[in-house]
């Protein structure tokens, strides 16, 4: 007995030591977690409780030159169901459905949605309500406690199809994971090009949330800064007018520009789409995206066409500069030209006879320019074309512009000949052709097309002899004003005389006409400026498969200039 007592006490002591050891482990671990790892866990704790939500700024408007909005944000209202107390919401929806007639399928889906939502995922009861409908809903709000009205923002495009390509449209920023899904960014046109300016600065809302992600209180707010308005050079009346004119064609485009400052007054591409419906209506989107004539493409800046005879003034300038011809040099046009074993036809099978440069431009004689092409070095043509910007982007304020192309190889005579009449190795966009016309019209000064109203460009010479350019301009004047010339029928006796150059670009060769299918017909082109003496406006029109420039494009240009002279009298000097 006396022996056991101490041994038991020893065991108790052992228990005490073990206790100290184990509790020491607890203290050590607590020290590690609370002192050493304190900052790490503070971070995690804040991550748990603090949610940062971006506040989306109001998007700026896109305005036409006279201040009419081309794109603006419209407020609509929607009736929402607060799902924080789900039981109440479901009861309210049931009561609401029995009061208001709703389609059966909608009833079921609404209830289904209400049952599925999380406490923060509020549901839409009724979308897109006008203010009047909201007023009629206000009495409902008293009866159904879990309903509330929320504003939601839509982008509206009052010009619809007429300005769709140049203005663009909005859609969710799908490629960005950092931006909230409600934020819409510009997908094309001015909406995309000026997206940063239009978007403004995001605000930020810091909130404390609980474990169910329900916000409890605001910690701090940073206000969003609304986007700026973008003033464009688009003339609403002209844009609509041009669109109506082109609408009769299946596919066409037109650019109207102020030569003095490069302001684009109208940029139309047909067929268009309705940007109001494009992103909200899935069916419509599929229809547009899959259309065989590519409605979504802005043909004015991304449509590539052989310029055809509209390129002849450049070739003429190149020949004059190279000294191949002068003002009086004449070539004989028998209606065709033999090169090796190939025959190159003039568009007029009977031939034009003897022609000088002015006449050749006026009648658009192909054989005359075959001769120039034969005598010119490839570099002569490409240099002059580059001076006028062929193959280079105009850098207008619309995304997805195509540069076009001119690639002449050394020593292939046939390619040179074809390029001299604007076919073969050359393709260009309508806006480039318009700029080309403007640069011819102002006597060889650089023109930078722009959609920004407040931008002015410096006057910069392209380094072309004014004598040469006046000669070409004379030829272009004759195109519209000499009886029998290519654009005389529609182009003469206008209030302000115009000058221009028609073009017809072959799609398939003459010997290979496969019936009269639309897609094998020639493209029609026309570049022009008005008034011929002191040019103010330049225009380029392309009608896809329009058979010829004279028949399809000149009437359009004529009407456009008529419209301009009707509406902008003070700015045009009398001749």
């Amino acid at each position: 007995m006396p022996r056991r007592k101490p041994s038991f006490q020893n065991r108790i002591r052992t228990v005490a030591y073990i206790t100290i050891l184990l509790f020491g482990v607890l203290v050590g671990r607590l020290y590690y977690l609370q002192i050493i790892q304190h900052e790490h866990y503070t971070l995690l704790s804040n991550k748990n409780r603090i949610r940062v939500r971006p506040i989306i700024p109001g998007r700026g408007q896109i305005l036409a030159s006279d201040g009419t909005p081309l794109a603006f944000t419209k407020v609509k209202y929607r009736l929402m169901g607060d799902s924080s107390v789900k039981k109440n919401l479901i009861a309210d929806i049931k009561a609401f459905l029995s009061d208001v007639q709703y389609r059966n399928s909608m009833q079921a889906s609404l209830l289904e949605k209400a049952k599925k939502t999380s406490p923060i995922g509020n549901i839409v009861i009724k979308d897109e309500m006008t203010w009047d409908q909201v007023n009629s809903c206000l009495c409902l709000l008293n009866r159904y406690k879990s309903f509330y009205v929320e504003p939601c923002y839509y982008r509206a495009y009052p010009l619809k199809e007429a300005a769709c390509h140049v203005v663009g449209y909005l859609s969710s920023a799908s490629d960005s994971i950092t931006l909230p899904s409600e934020y819409k960014c510009g997908k094309t046109g001015i909406e995309q090009y000026f997206n940063t300016e239009l978007s403004g600065e995001f605000g930020m809302k810091k909130m404390e949330v609980n474990a169910f992600n329900a916000p409890l209180r605001d910690l701090c707010d940073y206000e969003a800064e609304g986007g700026k308005n973008i003033e464009t050079t688009i003339d609403v009346g002209l844009q609509n007018f041009v669109f109506d004119l082109l609408s009769e064609y299946k596919a066409a485009s037109c650019v109207v520009m102020n030569i003095r400052n490069g302001h684009i007054l109208a940029m139309v591409s047909v067929p268009g789409y309705d940007p109001n419906r494009l992103t909200s209506d899935k069916k419509y989107w599929r229809l547009m995206a899959g259309s065989p004539v590519n409605s979504l493409i802005n043909r004015s800046i991304a449509g590539l066409y052989p310029p055809g005879s509209t390129f002849k003034p450049i070739v003429a300038l190149a020949a004059l500069k190279a000294g191949v011809i002068d003002k009086n040099t004449k070539f004989f046009c028998p209606g065709h030209m033999q090169l090796g074993n190939r025959t190159f036809h003039c568009w007029k099978r009977r031939g034009h006879g003897y022609l000088n440069l002015e006449q050749a431009l006026a009648f658009s004689c192909d054989v005359f320019f075959y001769n120039l092409g034969l005598r010119l070095k490839p570099s002569d043509i490409t240099e002059m074309a580059e001076t006028f910007g062929i193959g280079i982007k105009t850098k207008v304020n619309v995304p997805y512009e195509q540069p076009g192309r001119l690639t002449l190889k050394q020593g292939i005579a046939a390619q040179k000949i074809l390029t001299a009449i604007g076919q073969g190795a050359i393709i260009s966009t309508p806006i480039r052709l318009c700029v080309m016309a403007a640069q011819l019209a102002n006597g060889g000064y650089a023109v930078y097309p722009t959609l920004e109203k407040n931008r002015t460009s410096s006057r910069q010479s392209l380094g072309i002899s004014s004598e040469h350019i006046n000669l070409v301009k004379r030829g272009m004047f004759l195109v519209c004003n000499m009886p029998g010339a290519s654009a005389y029928a529609q182009g003469h006796s206008i209030q302000y005389p115009m000058a221009g150059k028609t073009g017809t670009a072959q799609v398939v060769s003459l010997s290979n006409k496969r019936g009269h299918l639309w897609r094998y017909k020639d493209h029609g082109l026309f570049i022009a400026y008005v008034p011929a003496e002191q040019p103010e406006y330049a225009i380029a029109v392309v009608v896809e498969h329009g058979v010829s420039g004279a028949s399809s494009c000149v009437p359009v240009v004529r009407k456009v200039f008529d419209y301009i002279s009707r509406n902008e009298k003070p700015r045009l000097p009398k001749c």
């Binding site: 007995m1 228990v15 005490a16 203290v27 002192i35 704790s45 748990n48």
Partner: protein, 378 residues
């Protein structure tokens, strides 16, 4: 008689003031944190906790003034009554949180497995004090007497509780039983080794009868960050609560992890994390030291007791007390798998408090009766 009672109460407060004060500190802290976690309202949990403590504190004083002989005499009876109750829970008990643990006594509900813990200690203490130290028995019989029978005393309740299923209580019952056997035995190391080997042999068997969620807990313990929103959620959030508390804590009523419901079971099993978030490392140390102090006081009482029954009972109860605190805190700070064990006297829960106030009452009783000799012992 009345006079003697008064005297012993005075004596009790004089000689065991530290232990009693520590218990009160823990209960006050518990009440404060029931207030903190129940949306800062006194109605409901904090009031219930405080009232329960007051009632059970009286019970503890009464038990402390009872005779140690009574517990010695009734140890086996209690054991069989509780065993029967445990078995009855399996049949007529109602189900709460997926397990059949509670029994409805129409006034309140109790968990027999909680009370079983004390009763096992008493039964083992009685057993060892009864068999004394007779060494002259042949070895097979000795083994039977010294090892197999005590193990069976532990094994039956363990099995029933495990099937409820209540892994935490089952493990605690097993541990309490084993440790009591160890401190009772003469050559503890040898027996301890044999018990360890027995446990190792039993492991695959235990694993096979464990429930899926119990297995998950063990798996999760070894890799909590793997499923931060699944079975590892508790421990991840608990560590965030503790770690973000720092040295001084976020301040009373200022804890975000508990207030914003990120921390699960914030007022019961994980109350230690709640407290450490708000009171920091300092608060954690105070709690751990308070528990350690109670243990030290208890061990002193066990050491001073003259009777074998008293020593073993007090020792066993102290071990049970320490084990509970260790497992709960260890679980909250992520060094032990998550088992559903409350932090006694602080966590909300009647059964747990009843058990521990009774147990501490018995320890105090042993402390007051340290000179009492019990027939058949020593």
């Amino acid at each position: 008689m009345k006079n003697r009672d008064c005297l012993s109460v005075n004596l009790l407060f004089k000689t065991h003031a530290g232990l009693i004060l520590s218990v009160c500190v823990l209960a006050v802290l518990g009440t404060a944190y029931q207030y903190s976690t129940s949306g800062e309202s006194w109605i409901g949990r904090p009031l219930a906790h405080a009232l329960r403590f007051c009632g059970l504190f009286l019970l503890m004083i009464v038990i402390a003034n009872s005779s140690i002989k009574f517990w010695h005499a009734w140890a086996y009876h209690f054991y069989f009554i509780m065993l029967a109750l445990l078995a009855a829970v399996g049949l007529i008990g109602f189900i709460g949180m997926g397990a059949r643990r509670w029994i409805n006594l129409y006034i309140f509900t109790i968990q027999p497995s909680e009370i079983m813990k004390i009763v096992i200690i008493l039964a083992l203490a009685r057993y060892y004090s009864d068999i004394g130290t007779a060494m002259s028995i042949p070895s097979w019989n000795r083994l039977m007497k010294r090892c197999i029978v005590p193990l069976l005393i532990v094994f039956f309740p363990f099995l029933i509780v495990l099937k409820q299923p209540d892994l935490g209580s089952a493990v605690i019952i097993a541990c309490i039983g084993l440790f009591t056997v160890i401190i009772a035995e003469k050559r503890p190391v040898r027996i301890f080794l044999s018990l360890i080997s027995a446990t190792v042999i039993a492991l695959p068997f235990i694993w096979s009868i464990m429930h899926e969620y119990q297995k998950n807990r063990v798996i999760t313990f070894f890799n909590p960050e793997k499923h931060p929103f699944g079975s590892g959620y508790h421990i991840v959030q608990s560590k965030i609560a503790l770690g973000s508390g720092g040295f001084f804590g976020k301040g009373f009523l200022m804890g975000t992890q508990s207030k914003l419901s990120f921390l699960p079971e914030k007022h019961t099993d994980f109350i230690f994390a709640t407290i450490c978030e708000e009171l920091g490392f300092l608060g954690g140390i105070v709690i751990i030291l308070t528990y350690a102090f109670v243990i030290v006081c208890g061990l002193k009482i066990a050491k001073k007791s003259k009777s074998h029954f008293g020593m073993l009972s007090a020792g066993g109860i102290v071990i049970m007390f320490g084990l509970h605190a260790f497992i709960n805190i260890g679980m909250v700070i992520g060094i032990i798998p998550v088992v559903g064990i409350p932090l006694q006297l602080v966590s909300y829960g009647g059964s747990s408090m009843l058990t521990f106030m009774t147990a501490l009452g018995i320890v105090l009783c042993i402390g007051l009766n340290k000179r009492t000799h019990i027939k058949g012992s020593c």
